[in-house]
């Protein structure tokens, strides 16, 4: 059976990718942010996963409002980066972990989830940026990917509790997958930010620190919060943090918090990461 080698929670702010493209990741604005990810990159290089499951949301780049899947799973053999309005970024295409994807889809439906299953689709910064933060800019990505899209754009968005349940199915799927692949799970999005309304620019550093400190071993309160609670505490777009719950639920009840990092603001967002390992 495949093995979960760790769980990562991370921001996926698009300006992180833009900073890498422009070669300004060493300027004083960005350096503290990127420096905090160096240990994460080293951890990933040492752990050598074969597959990365990436839970993220599309930001009006791949899905339009004509059809809005609450949950979607990629089963494609590859995923190209999508043009978000600035031209297609020159990063390599992502190879799909097709067999695990289909197996996950089977398990989801057996467990009464009804995902959209995507055979041909592009990916936006929600997947690209976490990959760059943890794998750098290789000529080819050292892992295959299993993308999971969560709708966090158009209400109703799924509840945090539903995200949690999906994480349980993800774990079951990985652990029942016939193979010896090493799998890392990346829950992405957040931290606090708000891009719309007169509260635009809202950042809640205290709530962000609390999240990073407690998502490992004191997560019950986050699991029990409503969508409204997420929006209120983390901002309308900071509610993306519900996607970290998919990752967290797939890990053991008790985990080792290997590292965490926080920096604010990255563009208009509280940004950071945690790395978790099962004990």
């Amino acid at each position: 059976m495949a093995k979960i080698i760790g769980g990562v929670g991370t921001s996926h702010v698009p300006s992180i990718g833009a900073a890498l493209d422009k070669g300004i990741s060493d300027n004083p604005d960005w350096k503290p942010f990127f420096d905090g990810y160096i240990p994460g990159k080293e951890w990933m290089a040492e752990k050598k996963p074969d597959i990365a499951v990436v839970i993220f949301n599309d930001h009006g780049n791949t899905f339009f409002l004509d059809r809005v899947p609450t949950f979607a799973v990629g089963v494609a053999d590859h995923y190209d980066p999508v043009d978000e309005g600035y031209g297609r970024r020159s990063i390599p295409s992502f190879e799909g972990a097709t067999d695990l994807s289909w197996h996950f889809v089977d398990k989801l439906v057996e467990n009464h989830f009804d995902p959209l299953v995507c055979r041909e689709i592009e990916v936006d910064h929600g997947l690209q940026v976490p990959m760059e933060l943890f794998f750098g800019r290789p000529e080819n990505w050292p892992v295959k990917v299993l993308p999971i899209w969560v709708n966090t754009i158009q209400y109703p968005i799924p509840t945090p509790q539903r995200c949690w349940e999906m994480g349980k199915v993800l774990r079951e799927a990985i652990e029942s997958f016939p193979g010896d692949e090493r799998v890392v799970i990346m829950g992405t999005g957040g931290l606090s930010h708000q891009l719309q309304g007169s509260r635009a620019g809202f950042i809640n550093r205290e709530a962000d620190e609390d999240w990073l400190n407690n998502i490992a071993n004191n997560y019950e309160k986050f699991r029990n919060m409503s969508r409204e609670d997420y929006v209120e505490q983390f901002g309308s777009e900071g509610a993306e943090l519900i996607m970290w719950l998919v990752m967290r639920a797939a890990m053991d009840d008790k985990v080792d918090l290997k590292m965490k990092h926080y920096h604010a603001p990255a563009s208009m967002t509280g940004a950071g990461m945690v790395v978790l390992e099962n004990l």
Binding site: S15, H59, G60, N61, F64, L65, V82, D83, E84, G85, Y86, G87, I153, Q154, Y155, P156, Q194, L195, Q196, G197, S198, R199, A200, G201, F202, I203, R227, E228, V231, E232, G235, S236, A264, P265, S267, M268
Partner: protein
């Protein structure tokens, strides 16, 4: 969860999705380089292709981000209009907060 219950925080719910459909569809199209060229060449004609109302056209052409959002424009779509300009996202934030850009950076984001 549809009506905004959190102060100063509009959620993109059915009303926004219905009201803003044309603006958002037009903006989504700017993910295609050929459409970006058409938009730059004749913005009004491009907006007409997507049947924007006169009010919507006026908001887009005057880059009134606040009104675009009020009329159902979702930030993730209208960012593609900003990408053509280009307008920084913090300027869009400032417009919605009702602050000038420098004040917004300082007061909301803690930047000097």
């Amino acid at each position: 969860m549809s009506d905004a219950q959190i102060p100063e925080t509009p959620l993109f719910d059915r009303k926004g999705s219905i009201d803003g459909y044309r603006i958002n569809k037009m903006a989504m199209a700017l993910g295609d380089p050929a459409n970006r060229e058409a938009f730059k060449a004749d913005e009004e004609a491009f907006l007409d292709r997507y049947k924007l109302t006169p009010e919507q056209k006026d908001a887009v052409m005057s880059r009134d981000w606040n009104r675009m959002v009020a009329m159902g424009g979702n930030l993730f779509f209208i960012l593609k209009i900003a990408a053509v300009d280009p307008t920084p996202i913090t300027a869009i934030g400032a417009a919605q907060a009702g602050l000038d850009h420098a004040d917004f950076l300082k007061q909301r984001l803690g930047k000097e």
